[in-house]
Amino acid sequence: MGRYVARRVLQGVVTLYLISLAVFVMLRVGGGNPIAHMLPPDATALEMELMTKAYGFDKPLHHQYWIYNKKLLRGDLGDALSWDKRPAADVVFDRLPATLQLSGSALLWAVVVGVALGAISAAKPDTIFDRIGKLVAIIAQSMPVFWVGLLMILGFSVYLGWLPSAGGIDRLGPKGIILPAVTLGFFLIASHMRIVRSTMLEVLESDYIKMVRAKGLPTRMVLWKHAFKNASIPVFTLFFVNFAGLISGAVITETIFAWPGVGRLLVESLLVRDYPTTQAVIFFVAAFILFINIFVDIMYAWLDPRIRIAQ
């Protein structure tokens, strides 16, 4: 087990380093000069040159990369070109709580609603409830997250006027998070519902469920105490697998609702060619996804003895 963990972590570190290398090269080779975005439009050629020198963008690529690596080893991801020239890592960390708040709330409501709907569907298969749920799941999985967001705004902000359509939680209080979180969690409901329903149905067919039923246990007990527990393992996988998808969704959701998170930070940094901040965002997000992947694999090995023995 210890060796397995060590190997996975090492692989993760290598992958992360390669990702940062790829982003570094892509931005430098094709990215255009960020200095042009930092100076006023009437800046002279001399001013441009001085700025370029001051930031080291005139040095050969391998030299720039050497400096980048030296800093990286010290945990320094460089200074942002915008955002008051603060360290890029700090800029990302400032935006992190907003994104975590948003994705956490989205995941929470999606899992609760999705699992509940899936379990009820499985308990009463082929009833009207099951059919409606099925239809909703199919439609929900086909709706792009930005359209869900626009419909939410149209319904709850424009027509009903109940909820604000933009801004972070600081300015608006807890009311501000409802629409963004519901939007971001929307597509997850369908996948949770489907997986809970199908695994529940499978579990309900199994011999041990027939056994407890034969023992005379009431249906409610059979469902929640015996079936649901075993059906929750795939939900656990899905919960973590969805994290990567959640990040893509967060970029879009944050843009629609002007939510001050990491996703919007990336879009804003790209528009002004802020290399260090862009690199920092990708670095942290990739690190996060890798961490989740490794964590899930380890949890699996721990939960399921068959996987552990295969290692």
Binding site: A137, L154, R197, V241
Partner: protein
């Protein structure tokens, strides 16, 4: 289409790329099928294709020409209303089908070609080739694909070929993973071993014996991925990193619609409906194809 199918054939949840690999196949068995859904889906796909191919002759107006009839509500002359530049929304939705279908099909073709090549090389050659390619696949799966797409587009500039390239190169991993699995199984089968004994070269085994046997899986994956590619294209366009204006992409139409959402309901509604129907049709068709092509699942 809400009516219930009695055969109970598995309807597989369209999973985001990479998800399918982590969950056992049986566990992904879906919600049962809906009678008539495949026919309706195929009908809608046909309509989308007709819109895409004959956009010029069936649209009532010009999709790009600016007029003075701005922000008009739906009426008999403009069925879906007009936008802030006086362009007919119905015309733009029809032309949007052209862009969505073309970008999605090209991107999926690229992704399928890359993914299948990786899978065949990996599964047939094994050894260090397999190790390197699978680590590469894992690396790509760890990337936040939308974020990478945004970075690459901001470097290359927003244009249709760049959008195709970016979507194609960030969505090939599902093919590589799933088809490699099939290839590994096939390589153990007698007919492949016999071909090997008979002196067939590895490229020949790859192309003549293995590839035809993964074609069904490939077809199902492609159908399911087209829907995801449509969403990817419209998401990039919505963020302003996709199909450049004034070309009528459903994503960029919705981006423009957000500005006027307090005064017009029709602008944010119709392009989104078009995306949803197209994606849903691709998903349902893919599910149906999977059930048809995999006889072991037909009785489930």
């Amino acid at each position: 289409m809400a009516s219930e199918g009695g055969d109970g054939a598995g309807l597989l949840a369209p999973q985001p790329a990479g998800v399918a690999a982590g969950i056992p196949r049986l566990a992904r068995r879906g919600l049962g099928s809906i009678r008539g859904a495949p026919k309706l889906s195929l009908l809608f796909l046909l309509i989308a294709l007709i819109c895409a191919i004959f956009a010029e002759s069936i649209s009532p107006h010009n999709p790009i020409e600016v007029t003075t009839d701005i922000l008009e509500a739906p009426s008999s002359s403009h069925w879906l209303g007009t936008d802030m530049q006086g362009r007919d929304a119905l015309t733009r939705v029809i032309y949007g089908a052209q862009i969505s279908v073309m970008v999605a099909l090209s991107a999926v073709a690229l992704a399928a070609a890359v993914g299948t090549t990786v899978a065949l090389l990996s599964g047939v050659l094994r050894g260090w080739v397999d190790t390197v390619l699978m680590r590469l696949t894992d690396g790509f799966l760890a990337l936040p694909s939308l974020m990478v797409a945004l970075v690459v587009i901001s470097i290359l500039g927003p244009s249709i070929p760049n959008v195709i390239l970016v979507i194609g190169l960030t969505r090939w991993m599902a093919y590589a993973r799933v088809i490699r699995g099939e290839v590994l199984k096939l390589m153990e089968m007698d007919f492949v071993r016999l071909a090997h004994v008979a002196g067939a070269s590895r490229p020949r085994i790859m192309i003549r014996h293995v590839f035809p046997n993964v074609a069904n899986t490939l077809l199902v994956l492609v159908t399911l991925e087209v829907g995801l590619a449509v969403i990817a294209e419209s998401s990039l366009s919505f963020l302003g990193f996709g199909v450049p204006r004034p070309l009528p992409s459903w994503g960029s139409m919705l981006r423009d619609a957000q500005e006027f959402i307090y005064i017009t309901w029709w602008l944010p509604v119709f392009p989104g409906l078009a995306i949803t129907f197209l994606v849903m049709s691709c998903n349902l068709t893919g599910d149906w194809l999977r059930d048809r092509l995999d006889p072991t699942r037909r009785q489930l």
